[in-house]
C-alpha cells in the first residue's frame, strides 16, 4: 500500500520541482496563510498527535524541520 503512495508522491514532487516558478513577494498572499504552514492553523493538534504516536509506535523523527516557503516573518 505504501510503495504506490510513495512512488506517486515522488512523481508528483519531481513534476512539481520541474515546474518551479520564480514567485515574487507580492504573489505570496496564499503562501502566507496559516493553513499553508506544515503544522497547520492549530499547531497544538500536531503536538498532541506526536505525543500519542511516539508513545505507541517505534518510529520517530522526520517531523522537526520547520520553516515555510513564504518568508513572511
Amino acid at each position: 500500500m505504501f510503495k504506490p503512495i510513495a512512488l506517486l508522491m515522488a512523481a508528483g514532487l519531481l513534476a512539481g520541482c520541474q515546474a518551479i516558478q520564480e514567485v515574487q513577494p507580492w504573489e505570496k498572499s496564499t503562501l502566507a496563510q496559516e493553513t499553508m504552514k506544515a503544522s497547520g492553523p492549530i499547531p497544538a493538534l500536531g503536538s498532541v498527535d506526536q505525543h500519542v504516536y511516539t508513545s505507541k509506535e517505534a518510529v520517530k523523527g522526520g517531523t522537526g524541520i520547520g520553516g515555510g516557503g513564504c518568508g513572511c516573518n
Binding site: M9, G12, L13, Q21, G71, C72
Partner: protein, 370 residues
C-alpha cells in the same frame, strides 16, 4: 550582508512586513485539553497544554509551552498462570495515577536577511521519568525572493528512568537521544510548496522499559520472569517529504510521507493526508488520514506468538510498540472563528492498529490572538 539594499530586497522587506501583518504578527495564547482513552480498559490520559507566542519587534519571537498530563489505567504484563508452576500468561498491571508536567521554551531570532535561528529548551517530569533537552536550528534563505530555504537542526535529550518500588531497577538509569536533521523547502508557485528532509538519530544508554518483563527459559526448561533487555544503543535515520497545495481559496491539502529505518531492524513508512476546507465564512473543517506501517525489532516476540519466550540470556522484548503492525488514524477538526481574536476548535481522532489495539482522543481548545 550586502552594503546597500537592492530593490527586490526592499520590496521583499516591505511586502514581507505586510504579509507578516496578515499571517503572523499577532501574539497569541492557546489552551487545549485532551481526553485520551485506549480500548480494553487500558490507559486513560487527561492532558492540558498552554502555548504562548510573543513577538518582540520583527526580529524575535518567544514561544512557551506548558503541559500537564494525568495518566491512569493498566498496561499489558506477564502474570502467573493460575494453577501452573513456572507458567505465565498475558495479564494487565494497573498503572499508578501518574502526573506529568512539562515546559518547553523557544527563542527565534532573525537577521537582516530574515534567516531564522532558533534555540530551545525543554523539561518534563513524572514520578518515574525525567527528561531535559536542548535544541538549535537555523533556516537560511537561498535567494532574495525567499523561494528556497535550507534548514539544519540538532537536538539533544538527557533522560533518566527513575527507580521506584515498582520498577525493574533499584537505581536510576540514564540515556541520551541525539537528533540531527537537514531539509530544503522550495516554493513551487504562488499556491504550493514542497519540503524534503533527511534525519539521523542516536539513542544511547538504558533504553529498556523499566517496568516490562519477559519470560525466559532456563537450562532445565523451566520458565521464569526477567527484566526485558534492549540494546544500549539505537542508530536511526530516514527521509521525509511534504507537499502543501492551495487548490482554490479556502481549500488546502497537506501531504506528508516519512521513511524510517534503524539498526534494531525496524523499517517504517508513514503517510499523512490532511486538508483544510473553509466551509463557511467562520467555519473550517480539517480532516486527516494517516497510515503507518512498521516491521518488528529483531529481538521482539509478541505475547500471542507461537514462540513468545526467550533464552536465558540475550536481548528480548514483548512490547507491542516494537512489533510489526499497520496503524490507521482518521481525524476531523472543526474550527470556528468567532472574531478576529478568538478561534475555538474541537478535534476527534480515531487510531487503530491491526493487532487489535485502538485509541481515541478528543481535543478541545481555543486560540486568542492579540
Amino acid at each position: 550582508m550586502k552594503p546597500t539594499m537592492r530593490k527586490p530586497a526592499l520590496i521583499l522587506a516591505v511586502t514581507g512586513g505586510l504579509l507578516a501583518t496578515v499571517a503572523h504578527a499577532e501574539d497569541k495564547v492557546s489552551f487545549h485539553a485532551t481526553q485520551y482513552a485506549e480500548n480494553q480498559q487500558r490507559i486513560n490520559v487527561v492532558m492540558g497544554e498552554v502555548s504562548i507566542d510573543k513577538d518582540f519587534g520583527t526580529d524575535y519571537t518567544v514561544r512557551l509551552d506548558l503541559g500537564h498530563d494525568a495518566i491512569s489505567g493498566a498496561t499489558p504484563m506477564w502474570e502467573p498462570k493460575p494453577g501452573f508452576a513456572n507458567e505465565f500468561v498475558e495479564g494487565q498491571q494497573n498503572v499508578a495515577n501518574e502526573k506529568r508536567n512539562s515546559v518547553a521554551g523557544t527563542l527565534i531570532a532573525r537577521d537582516t536577511a530574515r534567516n531564522e535561528y532558533t534555540v530551545g529548551a525543554s523539561w518534563s517530569s513524572e514520578p518515574d521519568f525525567l527528561s531535559t533537552g536542548v535544541s538549535a536550528q537555523a533556516q537560511l534563505w537561498h535567494d532574495d525572493a525567499h523561494n528556497r530555504s535550507y534548514t539544519v537542526g540538532v537536538g539533544l535529550l538527557a533522560n533518566t528512568a527513575i527507580a521506584t518500588p515498582f520498577t525493574n531497577k533499584r537505581e536510576d538509569r540514564s540515556s541520551t537521544v541525539l537528533n540531527v536533521q537537514a531539509g530544503i523547502n522550495q516554493v513551487l508557485n504562488p499556491t504550493s510548496t514542497v519540503e524534503g528532509s533527511v534525519y539521523v538519530g542516536q539513542d544511547k544508554g538504558y533504553l529498556s522499559n523499566h517496568y516490562l518483563k519477559i519470560v525466559r527459559t532456563d537450562a532445565f526448561g523451566l520458565h521464569y520472569l526477567a527484566d526485558e533487555v534492549r540494546p544500549d544503543q539505537r542508530n536511526s535515520g530516514g527521509l521525509a517529504a511534504r507537499w502543501i497545495k492551495s487548490w482554490k481559496p479556502g481549500v488546502v491539502s497537506n501531504l506528508w510521507y516519512r521513511y524510517y529505518t534503524d539498526d534494531w531492524g525496524i523499517v517504517g513508512h508513514t503517510v499523512e493526508v490532511k486538508a483544510h476546507w473553509d466551509v463557511a465564512p467562520r467555519w473550517r473543517l480539517s480532516p486527516v488520514l494517516r497510515m503507518h506501517q512498521q516491521s518488528a525489532a529483531s529481538f521482539y516476540r509478541g505475547y500471542g506468538d507461537a514462540v513468545n519466550t526467550f533464552a536465558a540470556t540475550g536481548l528480548g522484548v514483548n512490547d507491542a510498540r516494537l512489533g510489526a503492525f499497520t496503524a490507521n488514524t482518521t481525524a476531523l477538526n472543526v474550527e470556528y472563528q468567532s472574531s478576529s481574536e478568538w478561534t475555538f476548535n474541537t478535534n476527534l481522532s480515531d487510531y487503530r492498529q491491526d493487532n487489535g489495539f485502538s485509541a481515541r482522543w478528543l481535543v478541545a481548545g481555543f486560540t486568542y490572538k492579540y
